[in-house]
């Protein structure tokens, strides 16, 4: 079926002038918004809810339900925050979506704002995305000029302002409440929940925070209907009442040791093996897969034996990973040391931990120090136990942190130690050193 799959979200990728409003409208753009404006907001929410759309930002929360949590008949502003702080390593789908097709996203923003009753949408964009910023600036200008934003959009009673906000260069700004704090001009320290943003978010008002890819999907759900959306993906597991299913197209970002890295739009549920071999051109230099990151490095690792895991919202979890995350697949070949990989992971999270909760602040830094020592050839077997203890005591799962960053830091350690333990033990017992190995590889 994948052979015949027509990309939807990436349809206009690579087309000259795809960023302009003229091209977008000529290509059938803003149909979804027009349809939505003819419905009541509740009906729009129902359509999105029926489609089974789940958030593309990482947690996979049911988008319709999220919108439904807003207080009813709230007097006063409701805000929509668009999470464009794409900082999960390996992830680049938002960048392509914005750079190639900004109006698709902006249409989604308008629909979502209409549905939720938001009169202001803040588009929180990662600071490093300069090209995206300029593209969006132009697109938003065009929209204001064509009554797609501002007062009484397309002759309806609905008014919306979109503000483009450049981020604060931190991973934690991509966390829902961290983003809100950063938006308010504060240090991006995630808030304690409850209250959830739907009750008290940006500027202490009800707020919805949605990912860019999610909102791009909303555009098409309104245009083509929920049935179209549900025709793709993995249906609900009848044996698991808590599984809401994984529907719709998904942007898979493939990077790492493959011949043809890039962004692939495929229905949810494709296996890692198919993605790597069929779409990404297989592992480079004729090597084999050692490990695969299923969705951004915070999700953990799939081993070579687990490549048939379907990359839907439930699949990676069954293989012991944290989840699908952002569907950023990073392929690691068999010549790469997992010690290096894990060290790199831990170093990232130690650098990006916001420093609010003690376990995460100290645990991430400690694990990175331990791994650096192991890499330098001074590891001890007891270090593995310490690493395990750290990974089991940081994160929302054991309840020791406010946000999920620490879970993301813990999962790669857990997975690596579980799935690649012999490699770590050998590395330590033989006193290997990274420099030695690099020197050997050079010959």
């Amino acid at each position: 079926m994948n052979e015949a799959f027509e990309p939807v979200l990436l349809r206009r990728r690579g087309v000259a002038g795809s960023q302009t409003l003229a091209y977008y409208q000529q290509d059938g753009g803003y149909n979804g918004l027009q349809k939505a404006l003819k419905m009541t907001p509740a009906e729009v929410i129902k359509v999105v809810s029926d489609s089974g759309l789940r958030g593309r930002g990482g947690a996979g929360f049911h988008t319709g339900s999220k919108w439904g949590f807003l207080p009813k008949n709230y007097e006063g502003p409701i805000y929509l925050c668009v999470n464009g702080d794409e900082s999960e390593p390996g992830t680049f789908n938002n960048r392509i979506l914005i750079e190639e097709d900004p109006h698709q996203l902006l249409e989604g923003i308008a629909i979502a704002s209409y549905a939720t009753g938001a009169s202001v949408a803040y588009l929180y964009l990662r600071y490093e995305y300069g090209q995206c910023y300029r593209t969006l600036e132009k697109a938003i200008e065009e929209m204001y000029a064509n009554n797609l934003l501002g007062k009484n959009i397309l002759g309806s009673n609905f008014s919306l302002d979109v503000y483009l906000v450049r981020g604060a260069c931190a991973y934690i700004c991509g966390e829902e409440t961290g983003l809100i704090e950063s938006l308010e001009g504060k240090r991006a320290w995630p808030r304690i929940k409850p209250p959830f943003p739907a009750i008290e978010g940006a500027f202490r008002r009800p707020t919805v925070v949605n990912n860019i890819e999610t909102l791009a999907c909303v555009t098409h759900i309104l245009d083509k209907g929920p049935e179209w959306f549900m025709s793709m993906g993995v249906p609900k597991d009848p044996n698991n009442p808590r599984d809401p299913g994984s529907y719709g197209p998904k942007l898979y970002c493939v990077s790492g040791h493959v011949n043809n890295p890039g962004l692939f739009e495929l229905p949810l549920g494709i296996t890692a093996r198919e993605l790597i071999e069929k779409h990404a051109g297989g592992v480079w230099k004729g090597r084999k897969v050692k490990a695969v990151v299923p969705g951004g490095i915070s999700m953990g690792f799939l081993s070579a034996d687990e490549l048939d895991t379907p990359l839907d919202f439930a699949g990676p979890g069954k293989a012991g990973c944290l989840g699908l995350g952002t569907a950023a697949v990073i392929v690691i070949d068999d010549q790469t040391s997992m010690v290096d990989v894990l060290y790199n992971n831990c170093r990232f999270f130690a650098h990006e931990s916001c420093g609010q909760c003690t376990p995460c602040r100290e645990g991430t830094a400690w694990s990175s120090k331990i791994l650096r020592r192991i890499r330098d050839g001074h590891g001890k077997m007891s270090d593995l136990k310490t690493l395990e203890d750290i990974s089991n005591t940081i994160g929302i799962m054991p309840g020791t942190t406010i946000c999920g960053l620490a879970d993301g830091a813990a999962w790669p350690i857990k997975n690596a130690l579980k799935k690649f333990r012999p490699e770590f033990e050998e590395y330590i017992s033989k006193g290997q050193k990274t420099e030695m190995r690099e020197a050997l590889a050079a010959h």
Binding site: A170, R187, W189, I192, A350, H351, E352, S353, C354, G355, Q356, C357, T358, P359, R361, E362, G363, T364, A365, W366, K369, I370, R373, K380, S382, D383, T386, D389, T393, I396, M397, P398, G399, T400, T401, I402
Partner: protein
């Protein structure tokens, strides 16, 4: 009555409580660093994690799968909290290991040692050793963080209490967190140190030895300190405080939580306002004759009796800094100057009351305690009811200083005010006024008695000062000087004592017991922290002996007597006001 369960102890639910507070009532301590009742909840130290669940109507208990922060979780009906399960204990031990990971363990040179929550909790909940094999993160100490505060950066556990205090309580927001992750630090902007009037509180708030008071730094190990409950006397807010002393030297003053008085904090004026008690300028012996005129020996004294010679000798030796050795051995044996002084005062006042009762004036100061005012007023009125009892000037400096300040330093709206440093710089105007009201029937204010000093001077004037700063201006003193006999009770040498004919040393609030009534009518008793400075003794003892009362001064007895005599002080009935005081009048 709805209830909740802490380790299967059932306690009643109280509104707006979190689990830490509820557990405290149940006798269970839940360790915490970042939470403070007066600051916002951030739940970031993760030390207070407990298991929590709900008891359902059918009696079954559904526990939440993950640990929850007790500080953030409201104590609602039917909450079930477990704080001693293996899961909780291992979490506490692990969190402590994290906290101590980069902590320098320099307890031996740390001021906080002995009252450090890292030490206490490690003993109670922690592991014996750290598994850290790497070098600890080392950071520069920041002595520039405030005029009174030093930051020992590497001891910090990033609870951010200090940051929240400057944002939410003082409103000055000097402190902030810089950098990220395990290398983050508390910092101030260049040239903007944490020097607001409430800054000293961050030292008390710091649960570890990161923020230290420069004033107290390396002065004393805290386990040598002995504490006394006291009340700050520098303004009419009357903050409850604890005075820490060692070897009769006050080392520091800390706020004592009292929701009726000031809350949990105090201002730096009060925090460092005890220093006059150890001033070089203290009056250390009674004196007869004017020091400023060099007339130490007074001719009148010869008529008083044998010990007066000692008074002379003693006062000479002290006030003129001549060594005591000039006194003869037999003089030293009887060197107590007080009996002679009391005799002298009694005869002077008696004589004055007989000869010209309407020309005898006593000026009370708002720095007196209620007991002092009562004993003195009682004595004088019993000597002769026609003696005038007047109220001295009440020092007022500027306007009330309220917090939290706005972004531009503006004062908050009344309903948002959390702390007030009052303009009225005296502790007990209301209490003294109540005493005077009773004995004099009306309050003679300073304008009235000063104008009569000008037209028709009083013959004999007794003035009680006891202010830590200069109280009367030179003009007032020169008017008082017109009196035939000026008797002054004061702590420090000043323009008034220099003009006096008789000077009686008083003692500061850290040396005596007494009760003061603050701006809101809250009466609080303070207790002596240190012995009276050499040569001095409590004012109440002087007044007791003047009035010829038998026995030693006993505060509760006097207060009970006051309650029976003065209706305004009915709340003093038992003589005890408790740690937090009682509201006597509003």
């Amino acid at each position: 009555m709805p209830s909740l369960f802490i380790n299967s102890v059932e306690i009643e639910v109280q509104p707006k409580e979190n689990i830490v507070q509820a557990a405290r009532r149940a006798g269970v301590e839940i360790p915490h660093y970042c939470w403070h009742p007066d600051l916002s909840v951030v739940a970031s130290c993760r030390m207070c994690l407990v298991e929590a669940g709900t008891k359902k109507d059918d009696g079954t208990v559904a526990m939440q799968p993950r640990l929850v922060p007790a500080c953030q979780t409201p104590a609602t009906p039917n909450t079930v909290v477990v704080t001693d399960s293996p899961k909780v204990k291992s979490s506490q031990a692990q969190t402590l290991e994290y906290l101590l990971l980069n902590h320098p363990l320099d307890c031996s040179i740390c001021d906080q040692a002995g009252e450090c929550y890292l030490q206490d909790y490690t003993y109670q909940f922690g592991k014996a050793e750290s598994r850290l094999d790497e070098p600890k993160v080392q950071r520069q100490d920041k002595y520039y963080i405030g005029e009174q505060i030093a930051l020992f950066t590497d001891r910090c556990v990033m609870c951010t209490r200090c940051v929240r205090f400057t944002r939410e309580y003082s409103g000055t927001a000097e402190l902030f967190v810089t950098s990220r992750g395990s290398v983050e630090e508390i910092e101030v902007l260049p040239g903007q140190p944490c020097d607001n009037k409430l800054a000293g509180n961050v030292v008390d708030l710091c649960p570890v030895g990161a923020l230290c008071s420069k004033d107290f730094l390396y002065k004393k190990r805290v386990w040598w300190l002995k504490s006394a409950d006291s009340v700050c006397q520098l303004c009419s807010t009357g903050c409850s405080i604890t005075v820490d002393q060692s070897e009769s030297k006050v080392e520091r003053v800390r706020p004592r939580e009292n929701p009726q008085a000031q809350g949990s904090f105090m201002c730096d004026d009060g925090r460092f306002g005890w220093k006059f008690a150890h001033s070089e300028n203290r009056i250390r012996a009674p004196r007869i004759g004017r020091a400023s005129h060099g007339q130490v020996a007074s001719p009148q004294l010869t008529t008083i009796g044998a010990p007066t010679n000692a008074v002379e000798q003693y006062s000479m030796s002290v006030n003129q800094s001549t060594p005591l050795a000039t006194a003869t051995v037999s003089d030293l044996t009887f060197a107590d100057p007080w009996p002679g002084l009391i005799n002298h005062l009694q005869s002077v006042l008696k004589q004055s009351a007989q000869d010209h009762p309407t020309k005898t004036l006593a000026v009370f100061s708002p720095f007196m305690t209620c007991e002092e005012a009562y004993l003195l007023a009682d004595y004088l009125k019993k000597t002769n009811p026609k003696i005038t009892l007047a109220m001295g000037p009440v020092p007022v400096v500027g306007e009330d200083d309220t917090y939290p300040k706005g972004p531009k330093g503006q004062s908050p709206a009344a309903e948002k005010t959390r702390f007030t440093i009052r303009a009225e710089k005296a502790p007990n105007r209301l209490g003294v006024e109540a005493v005077l009201q009773h004995f004099q029937k009306s309050i003679v204010n300073d304008e009235q008695w000063l104008s009569s000093m000008e037209l028709n001077p009083f013959e004999t004037v007794l003035v009680v000062g006891n202010s830590p700063a200069e109280w009367l201006n030179d003009e007032t003193v020169s008017k008082l000087r017109r009196a035939g006999k000026l008797i002054v009770v004061d702590i420090l040498e000043n323009n008034l004592t220099h003009a006096a004919d008789v000077v009686i040393p008083g003692v500061s609030f850290v040396e005596k017991e007494g009760t003061v009534v603050n701006h809101a009518g809250l009466a609080q008793t303070f207790h002596p922290a240190i012995r009276c400075s050499d040569g001095t003794r409590p004012d109440v003892r002087t007044y007791m002996e003047l009035s010829g009362r038998s026995g030693l001064y006993h505060g509760p007895t006097i207060r009970a007597e006051m309650a029976s005599v003065i209706p305004a002080f009915a709340a003093f009935e038992t003589g005890e006001l408790g740690e937090l005081g009682k509201r006597v009048f509003s």
